[in-house]
């Protein structure tokens, strides 16, 4: 089985981080993975995206053009990639930043106000992890506890506050009923 994902938003939202967490967890689970970022002038505040492929087979082209799962964290990304999602696939969007309704009926669309949830819970900047929580619940790609421990693995003791924030964010996202 092969799952192709695209994470898109603007620089600073943790788009590349989200993709990396998915790739890491899949690697620890023994899958073949690839992670390909957009790079260049779109960094630092401009549009950013990354392609992640998780597969039981060898990964071919690392570039995802028709994702099974699209995470859109700003309007330009939504406009650019909404039509590319495979029929039967998932579109998860940050509804605090994207004020649009998806017209497609052949995909699962999930609206989650991740940025608002983050600021209501004083974990600004963690909207990406909140979305990851919701993504886990929707797709069942990874076991929640395994994913959490993979995510906090590698965070040094000195940054233990970060561990708590990540835990909170993942939980909030997972428990949100879209």
């Amino acid at each position: 089985m092969t799952t192709e994902m695209l994470f898109a938003g603007f620089g600073g939202q943790g788009i590349l981080f989200s993709g990396k967490q998915m790739a890491k967890s899949a690697m620890y689970a023994g899958k073949n993975v690839s992670w390909l970022p957009s790079y260049g002038p779109e960094m630092r505040g401009g549009a950013a995206n990354c392609s992640v492929i998780i597969s039981d087979e060898e990964v071919g082209s690392p570039l995802v053009t028709n994702p099974d799962i699209l995470v859109a964290m700003n309007l330009p990304s939504y406009d650019k990639f909404e039509a590319s999602v495979k029929p039967g696939g998932y579109l998860i969007l940050d509804s605090s930043l994207i004020n649009k309704k998806c017209e497609r009926t052949d995909i699962h669309v999930c609206y989650i106000p991740a940025t608002a949830i983050a600021s209501d819970n004083h974990i600004e900047g963690m909207a990406n992890v909140i979305i990851l929580g919701q993504l886990l619940k929707l797709t069942g790609l990874f076991d929640y506890d395994t994913f959490l421990s993979d995510m906090i693995r590698g965070i040094p003791e000195s940054k233990s506050a970060l561990i708590e924030k990540n835990k909170t964010a993942l939980e909030l996202g997972y428990n949100y009923n879209a």
Partner: protein, 355 residues
């Protein structure tokens, strides 16, 4: 079993270089290979090595030559326009019979071009990287694991044959992350560097590293001897991967990231009953002529797929030598071909043959 780590292709090259004893990096930043020098800048001081950002690519390649002349392992890296700047120095390194590793993480050209992945420096790497009769060992990785593996291999080959080796990668391979297992990388038995200019302490005759020979007879002899070594490299070190070529009607030839796109296309073509196969050159020089010729004797047609306007296709045609038609499909300027487009091209070729 050693643990796999998720890392970028650029970082994997740097880590592999350090692991196989390279302690000197000279470079100048350029997208999309800058993570490589960033990694060296962090790691080299910790292992007693040196990472130096030179004032230009020209300076960096000449520093590389100096370090290589002393017999130490040394690496330099750049992306397409930067390699053009280094080409004079590369010719001198070849003329001095010095081993070193040069990395080209290709981007779109010509000129400043763009910063997205490309394979349009194939001619440069395999033909025209500097003036004079010379060859570079050119290795073409197609995964992050191979970025590490072939870097280690490049150092060994360079040392064994006393010639510069190039890792010809591209922006996608440099930027993408995949799992890497450094424990799985073998190392070869190496000759001693008794030619190195590293201080003789009056205990032996001095070694001179030089590429200038005023007497034409002498220069011809030197170049002839070098070409005997090149012939040995061609005989022993040519490498490629064959995938489903045994019964294939259409055999694709592609290297690097493009080979992965082609593998997906071959699988898709097979799923609809088309007998497609793939030859992936791992060494671009020496080029796997024999494998390609053998495949051409059995196939109905060959297809070279590249991220350029068609460069390797010339070598494919030379290897095929008229045994069957050779076609080309490519994207350029930083575009990566899609598996669907390659499959379309295979279908079109078959339809044309039937028509």
């Amino acid at each position: 079993m050693s643990e796999k780590v998720l890392m970028k292709g650029n970082e994997a090259i740097a880590e592999a270089a350090i692991r196989c004893g390279c302690r000197y990096f000279f470079g100048y930043p350029i997208t999309p290979q800058t993570e490589l020098s960033e990694y060296f800048a962090k790691k080299m001081p910790k292992v007693g090595g040196l990472c130096l950002q030179a004032e230009s690519e020209v300076a960096a390649i000449n520093m590389t030559m100096g370090a290589a002349a002393s017999g130490t392992r040394v690496i330099t890296s750049s992306s397409s326009p930067g390699i053009s700047l280094k080409s004079e120095g590369i010719s001198y390194i070849a003329g001095c019979d010095l081993p070193c590793v040069i990395v080209n993480v290709q981007r779109g050209g010509p000129g400043l071009g763009g910063i997205q992945p490309s394979q349009a420096d194939y001619y440069q790497a395999t033909r025209g990287v500097g003036h004079g009769d010379l060859r570079l060992l050119v290795l073409a990785p197609s995964s992050v694991q191979e970025m590490a593996q072939l870097t280690s291999e490049a150092f060994d080959l360079a040392d064994i044959y006393r010639m510069p080796a190039m890792i010809l990668a591209d922006g996608a391979l440099g930027q993408m992350m995949e799992p890497v297992d450094f424990g799985a990388i073998p190392q070869r038995k190496l000759p001693s560097k008794d030619w190195a200019a590293c201080g003789h302490e009056n205990k032996r005759k001095k070694n001179i590293v030089n590429s200038l020979y005023i007497e034409p007879q002498e220069l011809e002899e030197i170049v002839d001897r070098r070409y005997e070594r090149y012939a040995k490299v061609e005989e022993i070190e040519t490498r490629c991967e064959e995938y489903l070529t045994e019964d294939a009607d259409v055999v694709l030839v592609a290297f690097g990231i493009t080979a992965r796109v082609c593998k997906t296309a071959v699988n898709a073509a097979r799923a609809e009953g088309i007998k497609a196969g793939l030859i992936r050159p791992i060494t671009l020089w020496p080029f796997p002529k024999k494998a390609i010729h053998a495949a051409a004797c059995k196939a109905k047609a060959m297809l070279s797929v590249e991220m350029s306007k068609g460069q390797m296709v010339d070598d494919v045609r030379l290897a095929v030598n008229g045994k069957c038609p050779v076609e080309f499909y490519g994207r350029t300027g930083g575009m990566i071909p899609t598996p669907d487009a390659v499959r379309e091209k295979i279908r079109a070729m078959l339809a044309q043959m039937k028509g």
